[in-house]
Structures are given as C-alpha cells and as structure tokens.
Amino acid sequence: GPLAERRLLDVRLGELPAWLATCDFSPQGLLGGVQKAWNSYYDKYINVKRGGPAGISMLLAGYCLLSYGWNYQHISKISFLVSV
C-alpha cells in the first residue's frame, strides 16, 4: 500500500526517512500515535479471555530497563561503586 499508511514494521529500511517524513509530529499527532500503540498492545496481550503473566510482565520489564537507562549515569560513577 502507500507509504504513509503502512505500519513501522512493514516499512523497509531504505524507505525509513520517507516514512518518517509522512509522520505527524504535532502534539496531537504524537498523542494519537501513543494512543494507537497502547491500544494495539492492549488488544493483543491484555484484553483477552485467558491472558497470562506476559501482558504486565513485559510492561514491568520495559519500565525496569527504562529506569536503568535513566539512572545509568548515576550508577556508573566511581564514587557510587565505592560506597556500595
């Protein structure tokens, strides 16, 4: 289909800049993108009849990684390592 309507995983590597150009980066656009992403994740892993631990465990793991990334500067300092 046309480039603008394809999802990110269906876009080839060479077409990535063009695809990024068609994206909507205004606040409403970003919010809409976040909303769509959350809805697709929710419908796939949480809003099912017999879900498992996968739904929230992936969210928690992502949160762990994100917080580690944010605190990396602080963790990697020598003074911190010495004080532990």
Partner: protein
C-alpha cells in the same frame, strides 16, 4: 460549509453485536519476549539465533560494564526468583478464580437477556390473546342489547302497573262516593221518618200505649211467676 464531496455514513460500522474477545493473547516466550521476535530471526539464524543473540548481548553488557553488578543485582535476582516461584505455584489457581468471575458476569448478562426475551414472549402471548378477545365483540354487544331491552321492558311494565293502580284508585273513589251518597240519603230518610213518626205520636196516644204496655207486663209477670 458542508463539503458535499465527502461521503457520509458509507462505512457499515455496526457496534452490536461486538466481536468476541480473542481466546489467548499473543504468544510470549519466557514471559518477556514475544514470539514474533523468534520468528523474525528464524529464517536467517534458525532456532538458536535469538538465544545466541541474548547471550552475546548479556556478555557484552557485563564486560563493558554497561550493566553494573552491585547490590541491586542481588536484590533483583532475589525478587525475580520469588516472583517466578509465586507465578509458577499459584498461577493456575488465580487464573481459575478470574475465569470464574468472568463466567459469573457473563451468566448474569445472559440471564438478563433471557429474562427480557421471556418477558417479551409473554407480552406477545397476551397481545395475541387480546386480539382473539376482540373477535368476541359481537357477543358482547348482543348481551348488552339484551340487557337494555330487558330494562326497557321492565320500565314499561312498571309504568303500566302504575297507570292501572291510579285508574283503579280513581274508580274506587267514584264508587265510594256513590255508596256514601246512598248511605247518607238512607240515613237521612230514616231519621226524617222517625222524627215524623215520633212527632205524630200525640200525648194521648202515648198515654194509651204506656198503659197497654204496663198491663202486658203485668200479665207477663204473672205468667212468669207461675213458670218459675
């Protein structure tokens, strides 16, 4: 300004009945990594590809100290082991409990729906009965007509009786008047005759009749004494 070129209500979007929820969520291996990742790497690296990638990344992070081992690592390991033990042990029970809750909800909704259907069906039955009753209108009106005829007849006969009584009373009055008149005439005539007779009795005649009566009485008393 309405853009007439934009078509309105072309999508046949119907909100009810909703499509049912999918049975199971997306496949996830080890609870963390979606199956799509393994499928994505399978054509190029086979089955062990993602595992080698994971091991390589882990060793790289450790060796380059991008992931620092400190007290938090030990804490994370303990927490993870406890969580995994808990999930493995109590997972099925919790799932069964949640399924039961869902079942109850669905059963309640279904009960409401069946209730509504039953009520509507009884309403339809009653409606049909009412329609059948309408066919009996002619009988109803015949009965009413008979009632009214009976009332009219009764009223007529009552009035007839009243008329008869009234007429009889008047005729009785006339008869009573005539009788009274005759009675009065008779009495009056008797009185007049008596008066005249008494008047015509002269004193002479009275004396003679009293003497005759005394003589008769004496004679009678004599014969009576003798009889006693």
């Amino acid at each position: 300004v309405l853009h007439a070129t934009r078509p309105l209500h072309t999508t046949r979007q119907c909100l009810a009945p909703l499509p049912p929820l999918p049975e199971k969520g997306g496949e996830v291996r080890y609870g963390l990594i979606p199956e799509e990742f393994f499928q994505f790497l399978y054509p190029k690296t086979g089955v062990t590809g993602p595992y080698m990638l994971g091991t390589g990344l882990l060793l790289y992070f450790l060796s380059k100290e991008i992931y620092v081992i400190n007290h938090e690592t030990v804490a994370a390991a303990c927490i993870l082991s406890v969580i995994i033990y808990g999930v493995k042990k109590f997972g099925s029970d919790v799932a069964a409990f949640a399924d039961k809750l869902n079942e109850e909800k669905v059963a309640k909704a279904l009960a409401v729906k069946n209730e509504a259907i039953k009520d509507l069906e009884t309403a339809i039955e009653q409606e049909k009965k009412e329609q059948w009753r309408v066919e009996g209108r002619s009988y109803l009106f015949d009965a009413k007509r008979n009632n009214i005829a009976m009332l009219l007849e009764t009223n007529y006969r009552e009035r007839l009786l009243t008329v008869y009584n009234e007429v009889k009373k008047r005729l009785d009055y006339q008869v009573a008047m005539q009788n009274l008149k005759r009675q009065k005439e008779q009495d009056h005539m008797i009185q007049w005759v008596e008066k005249n007779v008494i008047q015509s009795i002269t004193p002479q005649q009275q004396k003679e009749s009293i003497a005759k009566c005394i003589l008769d009485l004496k004679a009678l008393s004599k014969s009576a004494q003798a009889a006693v």
